[in-house]
């Protein structure tokens, strides 16, 4: 049976600009956070299992490679949260003016990096060995 002609999703034929970048980053960070969800569950399961499993999990989470992944996860979390709130405003019909959308987009991008760096520093100093 031949596939009927269906409308294409906007991402298939729009000119590339900052809006696409922010939008695709929302998806990428969402997928990344879904992966990090399994790390969270691993950590919780280790904490429930006992001191030995917990020590093992903290060694694994504290390894340099995992630390890079965790910082990426934190950055993704900040971006996805801020841009998610931006989208909730869009859903409410607010912030669609070009100047406003551009400004909020920049605020999300810069804010995500800034908050992630601060949160990482705070977690390092208070939570110790997430570091």
């Amino acid at each position: 049976m031949a596939q009927p002609e269906r409308p294409l999703s906007p991402f298939m034929h729009y000119r590339w600009q900052y809006t696409n970048t922010l939008s695709i980053l929302h998806r990428i960070t969402g997928v990344l956070l879904s992966a990090c969800f399994f790390l969270l569950v691993y950590w919780l399961a280790a904490a429930a299992s006992g001191p030995d499993s917990y020590a093992g999990a903290m060694r694994c989470l504290g390894s340099p490679v995992t630390q890079v992944v965790l910082f990426g996860g934190l950055l993704a979390f900040c971006y996805h949260l801020l841009n998610g709130v931006r989208h909730l405003f869009f859903d409410a019909g607010r912030g669609f003016e070009l100047a406003t959308a551009r400004k909020s987009g920049w605020a999300v991008a810069i804010g995500a990096v800034a908050i992630a760096l601060i949160a990482w520093a705070v977690l390092q100093s208070h939570f110790g060995a997430l570091a």
């Binding site: 991402f11 569950v41 919780l44 429930a48 949260l81 998610g84 909730l88 977690l123």
Partner: protein, 128 residues
Amino acid sequence: MSLRSPLGRVLGLGSAKGGSSHWYAQRVTAVALVLLGLWFFVSLASLEGSGLDAVRAWLSSPVSSVLAVLFVAVAAYHANLGLRVVVEDYVASKGTRVAVLVAVKFALVVAALVGVLSVLRIAFGAPA
């Protein structure tokens, strides 16, 4: 000219099935996750180190354990809603798409149950 009514031609096509409830659930869980996510990171940052005792003491309090269970459950639900849209957009073949969607759902349900059970086990006093 088709003898079928315009409505008959579009029924069962496109997203005119359960789209609005998916859309709405995604927003409601998003709002919940803003609050739960902020709570989670503030709690982590206010722990006295990352030792097992500190983590267990935190998750043993009734409010923290309930919020942690909610965080795990709502995050898994929201992840499933979001990944579903991504898979539906990028996986063209119907068979593969359904297989991936089912695999994603299975993985998230198992992970969510492990996470919830772990928090409850700590809340009810996990063995040392």
